[in-house]
Symmetry: C2
Subunit: 247 residues, 2 copies
């Protein structure tokens, strides 16, 4: 029974996000239980995965690809409030309605669980609940860092902040040396960048050009970015160049 848009489930043990997703802390038997209630869904770039206000009957993890979380005002102004990368969790246990639009920006594969069985399992499986708490606290920190970007940074600093976040997260996914020039692909259009940064797409374009002109970044095509000096980029972002102090 292979419905279009769904795929046969590979084993959790081979899952690329096994050690980072909501199931990261699970033992073999717990994984087996999860495996029995999971299913995969694929979405194409541009597809809306969840509409704000709709009833949500599943929760799940991004396996591969990228999605965005956005809010829209009645007059059409939109603000991105989250960027969903592989291993990130979608949906809120305990609430039936979706609060935001979730849109695939690339082709994407999600590992889904029907909401009720998942909630039941969460109640019995502290490993899942704890991991979800940990991930939610991380997301809260990320959201708060973003509030500083939105509220207090200039357009140039906003762009530099976005680039440095994407660069760092990209580096954390692939096993690369941490210094030397960083190279990555921007997964976002200029418009999506603008929605993330609280700017217009024209301003994003102008500031990207300015950063290129000033040698902070190099561009190949519209999306392929090279950062010759990461600490320079972090300075431009208004962050301490020596990384935040966390423990």
């Amino acid at each position: 029974m292979n419905v279009p848009g769904q795929a046969i489930s590979p084993s959790c043990m081979d899952c690329p996000i096994r050690h980072r997703a909501v199931c990261a802390r699970c033992e073999a038997d717990e994984l087996a239980a999860l495996e029995s209630i999971k299913y995969y869904r694929s979405f194409e770039a541009g597809q809306t995965i969840i509409w704000s206000g709709d009833k949500m009957d599943f929760v799940g993890s991004v396996v591969s690809g990228i999605a965005t979380l956005t809010q829209t005002m009645e007059d059409g102004r939109t603000q991105m409030v989250g960027l969903l990368l592989p291993s990130d969790f979608v949906g809120r246990p305990g609430r039936s309605g979706a609060a935001y639009d979730v849109v695939a920006t690339t082709d994407i594969v999600m590992c889904c669980f029907r909401k009720n069985p998942f909630e039941k399992m969460m109640a019995d499986t502290p490993h899942i609940a704890h991991r979800l708490l940990e991930m939610t606290l991380d997301e809260l920190d990320a959201a708060r860092e973003w509030m500083l970007v939105l509220g207090r940074k200039t357009a140039r600093e906003k762009i530099a902040s976005l680039l440095s976040i994407v660069a760092r997260r990209d580096a954390s996914l692939r096993p690369t040396a941490t210094h030397g020039p960083m190279v990555f692909d921007l997964p976002l259009t200029r418009e999506a960048m603008a929605d993330y940064l609280g700017l217009t797409l024209e301003t994003v374009s102008r500031k990207m050009s300015a950063l290129k002109r000033d040698g902070v970044i190099q561009l190949e095509g519209k999306r392929h970015v090279t950062v010759p000096d990461m600490s320079r980029l972090m300075e431009e972002a208004g962050d301490d160049a020596d990384g935040g102090v966390f423990a």
Copy 2:
């Protein structure tokens, strides 16, 4: 042994935040265990409770009073990233360093737990972990709503958004009829409002005057606010006047 700045612990059963704080789901025996590791601390208005980067040896709940969570850039720009009201939780289990400054804006009483015993208890007490997850998810939603305010709203809309949030939260604390004019005290200076909204204090002042001139709010002194028509205020905030759709 009554150290200045600490008070004798009243019973959890009489606690004003008993049903909303991190302990809300606890049974009598769990409360008793919590009671044995808790202690109260008081802070005066203006005092910094926790410095960003410092080691945090406790977590806790706001019992009464108001505090703010702020981030500061090297050049002094600051952004408030959270407003802590009675029952709100401070501190992150699993992390030793504080990520933000926590400052008392009014005199405040906190119910504190030393971090290690609390973490141990959390591991054994699903009621606590679940409630904390629930509260963290709520905070994440609030942070994301605030990202829309910071990124896409005009100064006037920002002020109206802040006023409507304070008004609604105030209403939820006292058992008042939900319509008719709303009256409340702003717990924030113009500067604190500016830090919350990503504005300057001058702009806050001007827009407050404008909302008053236009009859959206009435002011008695600088802090005492009357909202004759709540739905009018919500329109000014750019929100749907009929309340968000949640379930």
